[in-house]
Amino acid sequence: MTSTNQLSELLTAWEETYKKGQLTLWIFLSLKDGQKYVDEIKTFVEEESNYTMTSESQSLYRNLRKFQHLGVVDYKSGEGNKGPDRKYYFLTDLGRSLLDSFIERNINLFFNERIKNLINKEI
């Protein structure tokens, strides 16, 4: 196996593990950006993650149903394009607090000067 192939395989394996659980963060970020219907959430997640994250609409609906059940996300009906009404999802107060707490404890670490320097430092 060439070192390029090995690098590619290792990177893929790491990314597969890394991405597990990340969909929630991307969904919440898309809703922090403003209320959206499912297709808009999908587009946001894919575009803003540079297509490193992909999600099927079914999977998004399933997750949104869970979040709605838990009270972190809710929706209101709005007009769709010609078709039936769309569900516009948004973060509830609990959802916003949850996202803020998560970011503070897990994401802001990467904005620490030392860590930022390490990330940008060439080995």
């Binding site: 597990k20 869970k66 838990l70």
Partner: protein, 139 residues
């Protein structure tokens, strides 16, 4: 926690219809002394209920994965089967070969089974938030 879901209601409606059909078929067969067909009817009923339980249970989990180790569907099945059986006797629709004692004993022993299921169900509550398994919420 949301306990009565659309799929549970649909399953219950199908079960009510199937159970009424079962009781009718059983009583009719026994009254006409078709004793051999009783086994066939009972097995067929069991299989059909199992298939519908599987289908609606699967759909229910796909819609909202409430982690209850099948307890909600078990409770619904217990009440529907036993209430219809008791009513069948109350309305005197049974055959001459059916005894109410069997229905009461079914309620009792199945009830013990349901209670044991309830204990296991309670044990799962420490791993859930609003009925959803903690490890599956943010997967």
């Amino acid at each position: 926690m949301k306990t009565i879901t659309k799929n549970l209601v649909l399953f219950s409606l199908v079960l009510i219809i199937l159970t009424i059909l079962l009781r009718y078929a059983l009583s009719f067969s026994l009254q006409n002394q078709h004793f051999n067909s009783v086994w066939l009817i009972a097995v067929l009923y069991g299989l059909i209920v199992f298939v519908f339980g599987w289908i609606f249970g699967k759909r229910d989990n796909e819609s909202l994965p409430l982690y209850d180790i099948g307890f909600r569907f078990h409770v619904a099945t217990y009440f529907i089967c036993n209430v219809i059986a008791e009513l069948w006797y109350l309305l005197e629709l049974q055959s001459d070969y059916e005894k109410i004692k069997v229905v009461h004993l079914t309620v009792l022993f199945w009830g013990i089974g349901l209670f044991i299921h309830f204990i296991f169900y309670l044990n799962t509550r420490k791993n859930v938030i609003k009925g959803l398994k903690k490890s599956e919420i943010f997967e």
